[in-house]
Amino acid sequence: MATTVTHLKAQLGDDAPVSRATRDAPWVRWSLTAVALLFLAGFLLLPLAAVFTEALRKGLGVYFCALIDADALAAIRLTLLAAAISVPANVVFGVAAAWAITKFHFRGKNVLITLIDLPFAVSPVISGLIYVLVFGLQGWMGQYMNAEHPWLPWFQQWLVGQDFKIIFAVPGIVLATTFVTFPFVARELIPLMQAQGSDEEYAAVTLGASGWQIFRRVTLPNIKWGLFYGVILCNARAMGEFGAVSVVSGHIRGETNTIPLHVEILYNEYNFTAAFAMASLLALLAIFTLVLKSVIEWRYALSHKS
Protein backbone atom coordinates (compact mmCIF):
# COMPACT_ATOMS: atom_id res chain seq x y z
CA MET A 1 0.00 0.00 0.00
CA ALA A 2 2.57 2.52 1.10
CA THR A 3 4.95 1.67 -1.69
CA THR A 4 2.17 1.88 -4.27
CA VAL A 5 1.23 5.33 -3.12
CA THR A 6 4.82 6.53 -3.04
CA HIS A 7 5.23 5.09 -6.48
CA LEU A 8 2.16 6.89 -7.74
CA LYS A 9 3.43 10.09 -6.21
CA ALA A 10 6.73 9.72 -8.01
CA GLN A 11 4.92 9.25 -11.31
CA LEU A 12 2.40 12.01 -10.91
CA GLY A 13 4.61 14.64 -9.30
CA ASP A 14 4.12 16.45 -6.04
CA ASP A 15 0.84 18.12 -6.93
CA ALA A 16 -0.93 14.86 -7.59
CA PRO A 17 -4.40 14.43 -6.01
CA VAL A 18 -3.05 11.88 -3.53
CA SER A 19 -0.51 14.29 -2.15
CA ARG A 20 -3.06 17.09 -2.05
CA ALA A 21 -5.43 14.86 -0.14
CA THR A 22 -2.96 14.26 2.68
CA ARG A 23 -2.08 17.90 3.00
CA ASP A 24 -4.24 20.75 4.09
CA ALA A 25 -5.09 23.72 1.97
CA PRO A 26 -2.81 26.70 2.65
CA TRP A 27 -5.59 28.77 4.20
CA VAL A 28 -6.34 25.95 6.66
CA ARG A 29 -2.68 25.60 7.47
CA TRP A 30 -2.13 29.30 8.04
CA SER A 31 -5.25 29.91 10.03
CA LEU A 32 -4.66 26.91 12.31
CA THR A 33 -1.04 27.97 12.84
CA ALA A 34 -2.19 31.50 13.60
CA VAL A 35 -4.81 30.28 16.10
CA ALA A 36 -2.29 28.03 17.84
CA LEU A 37 0.38 30.71 18.04
CA LEU A 38 -2.02 33.40 19.22
CA PHE A 39 -3.41 31.11 21.89
CA LEU A 40 0.06 30.22 23.14
CA ALA A 41 1.21 33.83 23.03
CA GLY A 42 -1.84 35.02 24.96
CA PHE A 43 -1.82 32.30 27.54
CA LEU A 44 1.88 31.53 27.99
CA LEU A 45 4.10 34.35 26.77
CA LEU A 46 2.03 37.22 28.09
CA PRO A 47 2.26 36.08 31.76
CA LEU A 48 5.99 35.49 31.40
CA ALA A 49 6.46 38.97 29.97
CA ALA A 50 4.28 40.39 32.74
CA VAL A 51 6.56 38.96 35.45
CA PHE A 52 9.66 40.69 34.10
CA THR A 53 8.00 44.01 33.23
CA GLU A 54 6.39 44.28 36.64
CA ALA A 55 9.65 43.32 38.35
CA LEU A 56 11.64 45.96 36.47
CA ARG A 57 8.96 48.63 36.55
CA LYS A 58 10.80 50.72 39.13
CA GLY A 59 14.23 50.17 37.64
CA LEU A 60 17.14 47.86 38.17
CA GLY A 61 18.15 49.40 41.49
CA VAL A 62 14.86 48.59 43.19
CA TYR A 63 14.91 45.18 41.55
CA PHE A 64 18.27 44.20 43.04
CA CYS A 65 17.42 45.76 46.39
CA ALA A 66 14.41 43.47 46.59
CA LEU A 67 16.61 40.47 45.87
CA ILE A 68 19.26 41.16 48.51
CA ASP A 69 16.77 41.89 51.29
CA ALA A 70 17.59 39.70 54.31
CA ASP A 71 14.27 37.83 54.24
CA ALA A 72 14.59 37.31 50.51
CA LEU A 73 18.05 35.82 50.95
CA ALA A 74 16.78 33.56 53.72
CA ALA A 75 13.98 32.38 51.42
CA ILE A 76 16.45 31.69 48.63
CA ARG A 77 18.68 29.72 51.00
CA LEU A 78 15.78 27.64 52.28
CA THR A 79 14.54 26.89 48.76
CA LEU A 80 18.02 25.76 47.75
CA LEU A 81 18.30 23.62 50.87
CA ALA A 82 14.93 21.92 50.34
CA ALA A 83 15.79 21.18 46.72
CA ALA A 84 19.28 19.99 47.68
CA ILE A 85 17.80 17.36 49.99
CA SER A 86 14.67 16.26 48.16
CA VAL A 87 16.09 16.07 44.64
CA PRO A 88 18.97 13.66 45.47
CA ALA A 89 16.62 11.59 47.65
CA ASN A 90 14.21 11.20 44.77
CA VAL A 91 17.02 10.51 42.31
CA VAL A 92 18.22 7.60 44.43
CA PHE A 93 14.68 6.36 44.81
CA GLY A 94 13.86 6.89 41.13
CA VAL A 95 16.85 4.88 39.96
CA ALA A 96 16.18 2.11 42.49
CA ALA A 97 12.50 1.93 41.61
CA ALA A 98 13.11 1.96 37.87
CA TRP A 99 15.77 -0.72 38.31
CA ALA A 100 13.48 -2.90 40.41
CA ILE A 101 10.57 -2.49 38.01
CA THR A 102 12.40 -3.05 34.75
CA LYS A 103 15.05 -5.63 35.63
CA PHE A 104 13.03 -7.99 37.81
CA HIS A 105 9.80 -9.87 37.37
CA PHE A 106 7.29 -9.82 40.18
CA ARG A 107 3.58 -9.62 40.75
CA GLY A 108 1.79 -6.36 41.22
CA LYS A 109 4.23 -4.43 39.07
CA ASN A 110 1.47 -2.30 37.59
CA VAL A 111 0.15 -1.51 41.05
CA LEU A 112 3.60 -0.33 42.06
CA ILE A 113 3.85 1.93 39.00
CA THR A 114 0.45 3.42 39.79
CA LEU A 115 1.48 4.00 43.41
CA ILE A 116 4.60 5.82 42.29
CA ASP A 117 2.43 8.10 40.16
CA LEU A 118 0.06 8.87 43.02
CA PRO A 119 1.62 12.18 44.12
CA PHE A 120 0.84 13.60 40.67
CA ALA A 121 -2.84 12.90 41.20
CA VAL A 122 -2.97 14.45 44.65
CA SER A 123 -3.74 18.13 45.07
CA PRO A 124 -0.70 19.97 46.48
CA VAL A 125 -2.83 21.25 49.33
CA ILE A 126 -3.69 17.68 50.31
CA SER A 127 -0.01 16.70 50.10
CA GLY A 128 0.70 19.27 52.76
CA LEU A 129 -2.33 18.31 54.82
CA ILE A 130 -1.40 14.65 55.12
CA TYR A 131 1.98 15.58 56.59
CA VAL A 132 0.27 17.83 59.10
CA LEU A 133 -1.90 14.85 60.03
CA VAL A 134 1.10 12.61 60.60
CA PHE A 135 3.59 14.99 62.17
CA GLY A 136 1.53 17.89 63.50
CA LEU A 137 0.76 18.51 67.15
CA GLN A 138 -2.76 17.16 66.64
CA GLY A 139 -1.39 14.32 64.56
CA TRP A 140 0.15 10.96 65.22
CA MET A 141 3.51 12.30 66.25
CA GLY A 142 2.02 14.94 68.49
CA GLN A 143 -0.13 12.35 70.21
CA TYR A 144 2.90 10.17 70.69
CA MET A 145 4.93 12.99 72.18
CA ASN A 146 2.16 13.79 74.66
CA ALA A 147 1.19 10.21 75.46
CA GLU A 148 1.41 9.17 79.11
CA HIS A 149 2.37 5.57 78.52
CA PRO A 150 4.13 5.66 75.20
CA TRP A 151 5.57 2.93 73.13
CA LEU A 152 9.40 3.17 73.39
CA PRO A 153 9.51 5.71 76.30
CA TRP A 154 13.16 6.65 75.73
CA PHE A 155 12.37 7.64 72.15
CA GLN A 156 9.59 9.93 73.36
CA GLN A 157 11.90 11.50 75.91
CA TRP A 158 14.51 12.04 73.27
CA LEU A 159 12.01 13.64 70.88
CA VAL A 160 10.67 15.96 73.57
CA GLY A 161 14.20 16.76 74.76
CA GLN A 162 15.33 17.68 71.23
CA ASP A 163 12.35 20.01 70.87
CA PHE A 164 12.13 18.47 67.46
CA LYS A 165 9.62 20.10 65.16
CA ILE A 166 8.66 18.87 61.73
CA ILE A 167 5.53 20.80 60.89
CA PHE A 168 5.87 24.59 60.64
CA ALA A 169 9.61 24.00 60.43
CA VAL A 170 12.23 23.13 57.85
CA PRO A 171 11.91 19.29 57.99
CA GLY A 172 8.22 19.55 57.08
CA ILE A 173 9.06 21.70 54.07
CA VAL A 174 11.65 19.20 52.92
CA LEU A 175 9.23 16.28 53.37
CA ALA A 176 6.39 18.00 51.51
CA THR A 177 8.76 18.93 48.69
CA THR A 178 9.97 15.34 48.50
CA PHE A 179 6.39 14.12 48.27
CA VAL A 180 5.35 16.36 45.38
CA THR A 181 8.52 15.69 43.39
CA PHE A 182 8.49 11.98 44.17
CA PRO A 183 7.50 10.55 40.74
CA PHE A 184 9.58 12.72 38.38
CA VAL A 185 12.79 10.70 38.09
CA ALA A 186 11.19 7.25 38.28
CA ARG A 187 8.64 8.24 35.67
CA GLU A 188 11.29 9.33 33.18
CA LEU A 189 13.44 6.25 33.76
CA ILE A 190 10.87 3.43 33.75
CA PRO A 191 9.78 3.70 30.08
CA LEU A 192 13.35 4.36 29.00
CA MET A 193 14.76 1.30 30.78
CA GLN A 194 11.82 -0.81 29.61
CA ALA A 195 12.58 0.12 26.02
CA GLN A 196 16.27 -0.65 26.41
CA GLY A 197 15.69 -4.09 27.93
CA SER A 198 18.25 -6.02 29.93
CA ASP A 199 20.37 -7.56 27.17
CA GLU A 200 23.41 -5.43 27.83
CA GLU A 201 23.21 -6.15 31.57
CA TYR A 202 23.02 -9.90 30.86
CA ALA A 203 26.06 -9.61 28.63
CA ALA A 204 27.91 -7.83 31.43
CA VAL A 205 26.97 -10.59 33.87
CA THR A 206 28.35 -13.29 31.59
CA LEU A 207 31.56 -11.29 31.35
CA GLY A 208 31.85 -11.41 35.12
CA ALA A 209 30.90 -7.87 36.15
CA SER A 210 29.63 -7.24 39.66
CA GLY A 211 26.26 -5.57 40.30
CA TRP A 212 27.75 -2.17 40.98
CA GLN A 213 30.04 -2.41 37.96
CA ILE A 214 27.08 -3.26 35.76
CA PHE A 215 25.19 -0.27 37.05
CA ARG A 216 28.05 2.17 36.67
CA ARG A 217 29.48 1.00 33.37
CA VAL A 218 26.43 -0.31 31.52
CA THR A 219 23.16 1.03 32.91
CA LEU A 220 24.16 4.54 33.92
CA PRO A 221 25.63 5.55 30.54
CA ASN A 222 22.47 4.26 28.88
CA ILE A 223 20.08 6.20 31.06
CA LYS A 224 22.11 9.35 31.69
CA TRP A 225 20.03 11.67 29.48
CA GLY A 226 16.77 10.36 30.84
CA LEU A 227 18.10 10.73 34.37
CA PHE A 228 19.29 14.26 33.75
CA TYR A 229 15.92 15.12 32.25
CA GLY A 230 14.11 13.77 35.30
CA VAL A 231 16.44 15.69 37.62
CA ILE A 232 15.84 19.09 36.05
CA LEU A 233 12.06 18.62 36.03
CA CYS A 234 12.19 17.42 39.63
CA ASN A 235 14.32 20.40 40.59
CA ALA A 236 12.04 22.93 38.90
CA ARG A 237 9.06 21.58 40.77
CA ALA A 238 10.96 21.32 44.06
CA MET A 239 11.98 24.98 43.95
CA GLY A 240 8.62 26.22 42.79
CA GLU A 241 6.22 24.18 44.89
CA PHE A 242 3.69 26.40 46.59
CA GLY A 243 0.53 24.63 47.75
CA ALA A 244 2.03 21.78 49.75
CA VAL A 245 4.79 23.87 51.28
CA SER A 246 2.36 26.61 52.16
CA VAL A 247 0.35 24.20 54.35
CA VAL A 248 3.33 22.86 56.32
CA SER A 249 5.48 25.97 56.51
CA GLY A 250 3.90 28.19 59.14
CA HIS A 251 5.04 31.26 57.16
CA ILE A 252 7.69 32.57 59.54
CA ARG A 253 9.55 35.29 57.70
CA GLY A 254 13.24 34.65 57.32
CA GLU A 255 12.86 31.17 58.81
CA THR A 256 10.33 28.94 57.09
CA ASN A 257 9.60 30.89 53.92
CA THR A 258 10.64 29.51 50.57
CA ILE A 259 10.80 31.76 47.50
CA PRO A 260 7.20 31.08 46.36
CA LEU A 261 5.88 31.71 49.87
CA HIS A 262 7.90 34.91 50.11
CA VAL A 263 6.35 35.99 46.80
CA GLU A 264 2.91 35.50 48.31
CA ILE A 265 3.70 37.46 51.47
CA LEU A 266 5.19 40.37 49.56
CA TYR A 267 2.25 40.35 47.17
CA ASN A 268 -0.30 40.39 49.94
CA GLU A 269 1.55 43.32 51.50
CA TYR A 270 1.05 45.18 48.19
CA ASN A 271 4.79 45.21 47.74
CA PHE A 272 4.29 44.27 44.09
CA THR A 273 7.70 45.17 42.73
CA ALA A 274 9.49 43.04 45.31
CA ALA A 275 7.03 40.18 44.81
CA PHE A 276 7.60 40.21 41.06
CA ALA A 277 11.34 40.52 41.56
CA MET A 278 11.34 37.29 43.58
CA ALA A 279 8.95 35.75 41.07
CA SER A 280 11.32 36.68 38.26
CA LEU A 281 13.97 34.47 39.87
CA LEU A 282 11.60 31.51 39.62
CA ALA A 283 10.60 32.51 36.09
CA LEU A 284 14.29 32.55 35.12
CA LEU A 285 14.62 29.09 36.63
CA ALA A 286 11.65 27.96 34.55
CA ILE A 287 13.16 29.35 31.34
CA PHE A 288 16.49 27.77 32.19
CA THR A 289 14.72 24.44 32.78
CA LEU A 290 12.93 24.62 29.43
CA VAL A 291 16.16 25.45 27.59
CA LEU A 292 18.03 22.58 29.25
CA LYS A 293 15.12 20.28 28.49
CA SER A 294 15.16 21.14 24.80
CA VAL A 295 18.91 20.69 24.66
CA ILE A 296 18.62 17.26 26.28
CA GLU A 297 15.85 16.19 23.91
CA TRP A 298 17.99 17.30 21.00
CA ARG A 299 21.10 15.49 22.30
CA TYR A 300 19.04 12.39 22.96
CA ALA A 301 17.58 12.42 19.46
CA LEU A 302 21.13 12.76 18.08
CA SER A 303 22.53 9.87 20.11
CA HIS A 304 19.47 7.80 19.24
CA LYS A 305 19.92 8.34 15.52
CA SER A 306 23.58 7.31 15.43
Binding site: E54, L233, F276
Partner: protein
Protein backbone atom coordinates in the same frame (compact mmCIF):
# COMPACT_ATOMS: atom_id res chain seq x y z
CA UNK B 1 13.40 -3.53 45.77
CA UNK B 2 13.08 -3.46 49.53
CA UNK B 3 14.41 0.07 49.56
CA UNK B 4 11.93 1.13 46.90
CA UNK B 5 9.00 -0.20 48.87
CA UNK B 6 10.16 1.26 52.19
CA UNK B 7 10.75 4.70 50.76
CA UNK B 8 7.46 4.59 48.88
CA UNK B 9 5.59 3.62 52.03
CA UNK B 10 7.25 6.23 54.22
CA UNK B 11 6.89 9.18 51.90
CA UNK B 12 3.64 8.40 50.09
CA UNK B 13 1.54 5.59 51.52
CA UNK B 14 1.65 6.20 55.26
CA UNK B 15 0.79 9.92 55.02
CA UNK B 16 -1.99 9.22 52.52
CA UNK B 17 -3.37 6.50 54.77
CA UNK B 18 -3.38 9.05 57.59
CA UNK B 19 -6.03 11.06 55.75
CA UNK B 20 -8.32 8.05 55.44
CA UNK B 21 -7.72 6.92 59.02
CA UNK B 22 -8.44 10.40 60.33
CA UNK B 23 -11.82 10.49 58.58
CA UNK B 24 -12.68 6.95 59.64
CA UNK B 25 -12.68 8.32 63.19
CA UNK B 26 -15.59 10.60 62.31
CA UNK B 27 -19.21 9.61 62.56
CA UNK B 28 -21.12 9.43 59.28
CA UNK B 29 -23.22 12.46 60.19
CA UNK B 30 -20.17 14.53 61.03
CA UNK B 31 -18.61 13.49 57.73
CA UNK B 32 -21.67 14.49 55.72
CA UNK B 33 -21.86 17.73 57.67
CA UNK B 34 -18.24 18.46 56.78
CA UNK B 35 -18.36 17.57 53.09
CA UNK B 36 -21.87 18.70 52.18
CA UNK B 37 -22.37 22.02 53.97
CA UNK B 38 -23.59 24.81 51.64
CA UNK B 39 -20.22 26.53 51.53
CA UNK B 40 -18.45 23.29 50.61
CA UNK B 41 -21.09 22.39 48.02
CA UNK B 42 -20.68 25.82 46.45
CA UNK B 43 -16.92 25.27 46.28
CA UNK B 44 -17.44 21.92 44.49
CA UNK B 45 -19.64 23.67 41.95
CA UNK B 46 -16.97 26.30 41.33
CA UNK B 47 -14.08 23.80 41.25
CA UNK B 48 -15.72 21.11 39.13
CA UNK B 49 -17.56 23.49 36.82
CA UNK B 50 -14.64 25.72 36.00
CA UNK B 51 -12.15 22.82 35.81
CA UNK B 52 -14.46 21.12 33.32
CA UNK B 53 -14.73 24.27 31.23
CA UNK B 54 -10.95 24.82 31.35
CA UNK B 55 -10.39 21.16 30.39
CA UNK B 56 -12.71 21.49 27.37
CA UNK B 57 -11.07 24.70 26.19
CA UNK B 58 -7.68 23.04 26.60
CA UNK B 59 -8.83 19.99 24.66
CA UNK B 60 -9.97 22.19 21.76
CA UNK B 61 -6.95 24.47 21.57
CA UNK B 62 -4.56 21.71 22.61
CA UNK B 63 -5.69 19.67 19.61
CA UNK B 64 -5.00 22.59 17.29
CA UNK B 65 -1.62 23.32 18.89
CA UNK B 66 -0.54 19.66 18.74
CA UNK B 67 -1.69 19.35 15.13
CA UNK B 68 0.15 22.49 14.08
CA UNK B 69 3.30 21.45 15.95
CA UNK B 70 3.40 17.98 14.39
CA UNK B 71 2.17 18.66 10.88
CA UNK B 72 3.07 22.16 9.77
CA UNK B 73 6.55 23.56 9.35
CA UNK B 74 7.01 27.14 10.50
CA UNK B 75 9.96 29.21 11.71
CA UNK B 76 10.67 29.05 15.44
CA UNK B 77 8.85 25.77 15.85
CA UNK B 78 11.41 24.36 18.29
CA UNK B 79 11.00 27.37 20.58
CA UNK B 80 7.21 27.15 20.45
CA UNK B 81 7.42 23.46 21.22
CA UNK B 82 9.56 24.18 24.29
CA UNK B 83 7.27 26.97 25.48
CA UNK B 84 4.27 24.62 25.63
CA UNK B 85 5.83 23.15 28.77
CA UNK B 86 6.03 26.53 30.50
CA UNK B 87 3.09 25.83 32.84
CA UNK B 88 4.94 22.73 34.08
CA UNK B 89 8.12 24.66 34.74
CA UNK B 90 6.73 27.96 36.00
CA UNK B 91 5.82 27.80 39.70
CA UNK B 92 2.10 28.20 40.22
CA UNK B 93 2.45 31.18 42.56
CA UNK B 94 4.36 33.05 39.85
CA UNK B 95 1.71 32.18 37.28
CA UNK B 96 -0.93 33.39 39.72
CA UNK B 97 0.49 36.85 40.30
CA UNK B 98 1.44 37.27 36.63
CA UNK B 99 -2.07 36.45 35.43
CA UNK B 100 -3.52 38.76 38.06
CA UNK B 101 -1.27 41.57 36.88
CA UNK B 102 -2.59 41.08 33.37
CA UNK B 103 -6.26 40.70 34.06
CA UNK B 104 -6.80 43.00 37.01
CA UNK B 105 -8.92 46.07 36.22
CA UNK B 106 -5.97 48.40 36.10
CA UNK B 107 -3.77 45.71 34.59
CA UNK B 108 -2.53 44.97 31.12
CA UNK B 109 -5.88 43.86 29.76
CA UNK B 110 -7.36 47.13 31.03
CA UNK B 111 -7.19 48.50 27.50
CA UNK B 112 -10.11 46.21 26.68
CA UNK B 113 -12.25 48.00 29.22
CA UNK B 114 -13.52 50.78 26.88
CA UNK B 115 -14.57 48.08 24.43
CA UNK B 116 -16.86 46.47 26.99
CA UNK B 117 -17.81 49.44 29.05
CA UNK B 118 -18.01 52.19 26.45
CA UNK B 119 -16.26 55.53 26.02
CA UNK B 120 -17.56 58.88 27.17
CA UNK B 121 -15.79 62.02 25.99
CA UNK B 122 -14.86 64.68 28.60
CA UNK B 123 -17.74 66.91 27.47
CA UNK B 124 -20.26 64.19 28.28
CA UNK B 125 -20.78 63.12 24.67
CA UNK B 126 -21.10 59.31 24.42
CA UNK B 127 -18.57 58.14 21.84
CA UNK B 128 -19.31 54.46 22.13
CA UNK B 129 -21.78 52.64 24.32
CA UNK B 130 -19.81 49.48 24.97
CA UNK B 131 -20.76 45.95 24.05
CA UNK B 132 -22.29 45.26 27.42
CA UNK B 133 -24.95 47.89 26.84
CA UNK B 134 -25.56 46.79 23.24
CA UNK B 135 -26.02 43.20 24.31
CA UNK B 136 -28.23 44.34 27.15
CA UNK B 137 -30.53 46.14 24.72
CA UNK B 138 -30.76 43.11 22.43
CA UNK B 139 -31.08 40.44 25.12
CA UNK B 140 -32.29 42.12 28.28
CA UNK B 141 -32.49 40.29 31.55
CA UNK B 142 -28.93 38.99 31.61
CA UNK B 143 -26.19 40.72 33.53
CA UNK B 144 -23.84 40.80 30.55
CA UNK B 145 -21.12 42.66 32.42
CA UNK B 146 -20.73 39.69 34.71
CA UNK B 147 -21.20 37.09 32.00
CA UNK B 148 -18.66 38.47 29.61
CA UNK B 149 -16.03 38.60 32.27
CA UNK B 150 -15.97 42.34 32.49
CA UNK B 151 -14.36 41.60 35.75
CA UNK B 152 -11.82 38.91 35.01
CA UNK B 153 -9.42 38.97 37.91
CA UNK B 154 -10.83 38.52 41.41
CA UNK B 155 -13.79 36.58 40.07
CA UNK B 156 -14.72 33.33 38.36
CA UNK B 157 -13.31 34.17 34.90
CA UNK B 158 -9.95 34.62 36.62
CA UNK B 159 -10.15 31.08 37.99
CA UNK B 160 -10.95 29.86 34.49
CA UNK B 161 -7.91 31.58 33.02
CA UNK B 162 -5.56 30.23 35.71
CA UNK B 163 -6.89 26.68 35.31
CA UNK B 164 -6.61 26.84 31.52
CA UNK B 165 -3.02 28.02 31.89
CA UNK B 166 -1.92 25.16 34.11
CA UNK B 167 -3.77 22.43 32.19
CA UNK B 168 -2.65 23.32 28.68
CA UNK B 169 0.48 21.12 28.34
CA UNK B 170 -1.37 17.94 29.33
CA UNK B 171 -3.50 17.81 26.18
CA UNK B 172 -0.70 18.85 23.82
CA UNK B 173 1.80 16.43 25.32
CA UNK B 174 -0.56 13.42 25.25
CA UNK B 175 -1.63 14.12 21.66
CA UNK B 176 1.79 14.83 20.17
CA UNK B 177 3.24 11.28 20.26
CA UNK B 178 -0.01 9.80 18.92
CA UNK B 179 -0.10 12.30 16.07
CA UNK B 180 3.53 11.59 15.23
CA UNK B 181 2.81 7.87 14.97
CA UNK B 182 -0.25 8.26 12.76
CA UNK B 183 0.69 6.70 9.48
CA UNK B 184 0.07 8.77 6.38
CA UNK B 185 -1.08 5.61 4.59
CA UNK B 186 -4.47 5.87 6.27
CA UNK B 187 -4.97 9.37 4.95
CA UNK B 188 -3.70 8.36 1.53
CA UNK B 189 -6.01 5.37 1.44
CA UNK B 190 -8.90 7.53 2.49
CA UNK B 191 -8.07 10.03 -0.25
CA UNK B 192 -7.77 7.37 -2.94
CA UNK B 193 -11.20 6.14 -1.93
CA UNK B 194 -12.52 9.56 -2.79
CA UNK B 195 -12.88 11.18 0.62
CA UNK B 196 -12.52 14.92 0.87
CA UNK B 197 -9.90 16.29 3.24
CA UNK B 198 -12.60 17.20 5.76
CA UNK B 199 -14.05 13.67 5.63
CA UNK B 200 -10.59 12.21 6.16
CA UNK B 201 -9.98 14.52 9.09
CA UNK B 202 -13.16 13.76 10.82
CA UNK B 203 -13.71 10.08 9.96
CA UNK B 204 -10.14 8.75 9.79
CA UNK B 205 -7.84 10.96 11.84
CA UNK B 206 -10.10 12.13 14.63
CA UNK B 207 -11.23 8.66 15.83
CA UNK B 208 -7.59 7.64 16.19
CA UNK B 209 -6.86 10.70 18.28
CA UNK B 210 -9.92 10.47 20.47
CA UNK B 211 -8.53 8.23 23.26
CA UNK B 212 -5.46 10.46 23.65
CA UNK B 213 -7.64 13.54 23.55
CA UNK B 214 -9.85 12.17 26.34
CA UNK B 215 -6.78 11.20 28.38
CA UNK B 216 -5.32 14.67 27.97
CA UNK B 217 -8.61 16.29 28.87
CA UNK B 218 -8.97 14.14 32.00
CA UNK B 219 -5.40 14.85 33.10
CA UNK B 220 -5.89 18.57 32.71
CA UNK B 221 -9.27 18.37 34.46
CA UNK B 222 -7.78 16.40 37.39
CA UNK B 223 -4.90 18.82 37.70
CA UNK B 224 -7.26 21.79 37.63
CA UNK B 225 -9.38 20.28 40.42
CA UNK B 226 -6.48 20.23 42.85
CA UNK B 227 -4.82 23.45 41.76
CA UNK B 228 -4.26 26.02 44.47
CA UNK B 229 -1.25 28.26 43.92
CA UNK B 230 -2.23 30.06 40.77
CA UNK B 231 -5.92 30.37 41.65
CA UNK B 232 -5.76 31.99 45.09
CA UNK B 233 -4.21 35.16 43.72
CA UNK B 234 -6.66 35.69 40.91
CA UNK B 235 -9.90 34.29 42.29
CA UNK B 236 -10.99 36.93 44.78
CA UNK B 237 -11.94 33.97 46.99
CA UNK B 238 -15.44 35.03 48.01
CA UNK B 239 -17.16 32.25 49.95
CA UNK B 240 -20.08 30.67 48.07
CA UNK B 241 -19.08 32.42 44.85
CA UNK B 242 -15.45 32.12 43.83
CA UNK B 243 -13.94 29.89 46.47
CA UNK B 244 -12.31 26.68 45.20
CA UNK B 245 -12.29 23.44 47.17
CA UNK B 246 -8.52 23.28 47.87
CA UNK B 247 -8.70 26.79 49.33
CA UNK B 248 -11.50 25.65 51.62
CA UNK B 249 -9.22 22.89 52.93
CA UNK B 250 -6.63 25.51 53.82
CA UNK B 251 -9.25 27.74 55.45
CA UNK B 252 -10.43 24.85 57.62
CA UNK B 253 -6.83 24.04 58.56
CA UNK B 254 -6.25 27.62 59.61
CA UNK B 255 -9.27 27.34 61.87
CA UNK B 256 -7.76 24.16 63.35
CA UNK B 257 -10.67 22.15 61.96
CA UNK B 258 -8.43 19.23 61.02
CA UNK B 259 -11.26 16.72 60.68
CA UNK B 260 -13.30 18.96 58.42
CA UNK B 261 -10.27 19.68 56.24
CA UNK B 262 -9.40 15.99 56.02
CA UNK B 263 -12.95 15.00 55.13
CA UNK B 264 -12.98 17.38 52.16
CA UNK B 265 -9.50 16.16 51.23
CA UNK B 266 -10.79 12.58 51.16
CA UNK B 267 -13.57 13.58 48.76
CA UNK B 268 -11.04 15.21 46.45
CA UNK B 269 -8.64 12.26 46.77
CA UNK B 270 -11.33 9.75 45.87
CA UNK B 271 -12.33 11.87 42.88
CA UNK B 272 -8.81 12.13 41.53
CA UNK B 273 -8.11 8.42 42.10
CA UNK B 274 -11.28 7.61 40.18
CA UNK B 275 -10.16 9.84 37.33
CA UNK B 276 -6.75 8.16 37.35
CA UNK B 277 -8.41 4.75 37.24
CA UNK B 278 -10.61 5.82 34.32
CA UNK B 279 -7.54 6.95 32.38
CA UNK B 280 -5.83 3.61 33.01
CA UNK B 281 -8.92 1.69 31.92
CA UNK B 282 -9.22 3.83 28.81
CA UNK B 283 -5.59 3.24 27.93
CA UNK B 284 -5.87 -0.52 28.44
CA UNK B 285 -9.02 -0.58 26.36
CA UNK B 286 -7.37 1.35 23.51
CA UNK B 287 -4.36 -0.94 23.56
CA UNK B 288 -6.54 -4.02 23.29
CA UNK B 289 -8.81 -2.41 20.75
CA UNK B 290 -5.95 -1.39 18.48
CA UNK B 291 -4.34 -4.79 18.65
CA UNK B 292 -7.53 -6.52 17.62
Amino acid sequence: MGFTLTYLSLIVLVPLAAAFIKTSGMTWDAFVEAVASPRVMASYRVSFGISLLAGLVNAFFGLIVAWVLVRYPFPGKRIVDAIVDLPFALPTAVAGIALTAIYARNGWAGFLEPLWGGVVAPDGHVVHNGFVQYLGSIFPGVNWGEWLGLKIAFDRPGIFIALTFIGLPFVVRTLQPVLEELEPEFEEASATLGATRWQTMHKVIFPQLLPALITGFTLSFARALGEYGSVVFIAGNQPLHSEITPLLIITKLEQYDYQGATAIAVVLLVTSFTLLLLINLLQNWTRRHQRA
